[in-house]
Amino acid sequence: MRPTPFEYHRAESLDHALALLAEFGEEGRPLGGGQSLVPMMNLRLARPAHLVDINGLPLDFIEVEGDVLRVGALVRHERYLKEKVIGERFAAFHDAVQWIGHPTIRSRGTIGGSIAHADPSAELPAVAMLYGATIIARSANGERRIAADDFFLGAYMTALEAGEMVVAVEFPLPPAHSAGAFMEISERRSDFATVSVGAQITFSGGSITGARIVATGVELQPIRAIPAEEALSGKPLSACEARAAGRAFAEGIDPISDNVASSEYRRSLAAELTSRAVEKACQRALEAGQE
């Protein structure tokens, strides 16, 4: 099958893109890497009348400003693997990117597209929630800053309105005494996750002072594993509490069931991956402490 007819517009500037998106409203869509939108159009699950190609816009920046990492909407997935600041300060982010699709997808897909597409098992939405990121959206009417926690509303549903596009995602730099990890199980390496879990902890004097844990594959959007976060607070880094945290999370969820995995299997994966992610984060914290 092939896409239904549409008009193609190459945006010459951000203002141009926003004007076009304002004009077309629900009928228009930004075209980023096309790695999710074009498959949907080929299957005729999406039938936009207008595509606004944003690939020429200067939105492919990664910059640190004060204590914020700003990632432009057009940054391609593969780039994080080479960015020093991601490897050094955002280990869970770095882990997660390696699970996104395959190399050809990673060299083309963008963060703006991934966040806006909001596939229930995509990694970057989970990463954005894990670090408490802020999504910067622009429309012809101005800018909105939306917390990642409030952005993902369901499968392929976000807080974005017609005519609005993501221009950047801002990640607060994690504090010095923090560490994280991201774990995933998928049917094949290049597939979307069955379940994935990211954990980010802060610590002081050998104990965990705070934890943030996010999982995909449980609900139709990434969720915080709050019982696991609470179970870890004040516990020693020696990670013996990782299993208990995984269990605490798994007990309180009622995962979705689909053709990929049953609810029960997802529950056990959620427990196991939470435990592994916490363990790895603690291990990294201990290693950092020894340096």
Partner: protein
């Protein structure tokens, strides 16, 4: 219809296309390049991989209008009419193909990988080779032959380029 100019395998041509036409279809139908295979049209099988400005890209997830002014290479540009690139030779000798449907996609995905390994003068572990080809699906070989072909091509190419130190 939209007027675009493409440079395909060294030949520059202007043509009019409907925006909804996929690069894969335009290469096959307008340029007669039947080596661009279409498997899934969803980005999962890798059969349609071509190079756009030297980078492997899925031509089934790219509209031809997006490529106005771009330089594109298909499998027809690799190894001449007899397909004599060392990677193609290695696919033959190591049983890296059977029916051949997926082969152009593998070649286009892996030629840059092989070159990079030769440049870096290192023989990758099988795991790294498998990761490099994780965007391509082959239903015949069971992949072992393809991994072997990649290793052989890297070794042969290193030897040909003056025997750079070749570990593993």
């Amino acid at each position: 219809m939209q007027e675009i100019e493409l440079e395909v395998n060294g030949v520059r041509r202007r043509l009019s296309v409907e925006p909804r036409r996929l690069l894969a279809d335009v290469l096959r139908q307008e340029f007669g390049l039947s080596g661009v295979h279409i498997g899934c049209a969803q980005g999962a099988c890798g059969c349609c991989t071509v190079h756009i400005e030297g980078v492997p890209r899925l031509s089934c997830l790219t509209f031809a209008v997006q490529c106005d002014g771009a330089s594109i290479r298909t499998v027809e540009s690799i190894g001449g009419v007899r397909a004599e690139h060392l990677l193609q030779e290695a696919f033959r000798s190591e049983h890296g193909l059977q029916c051949g449907y997926c082969t152009p996609g593998y070649i286009m995905t892996l030629v840059p990988f092989v070159s990079r390994m030769v440049e870096e003068a290192r023989m990758p572990e099988d795991e790294e080779i498998r990761e490099a080809m994780s965007g391509n699906i082959c239903r015949c070989t069971g992949y072992h032959g393809i991994v072997a072909a990649v290793r052989k091509a890297i070794g042969d190419q290193m030897a040909a380029s003056g025997g750079a130190n070749h570990a593993g």
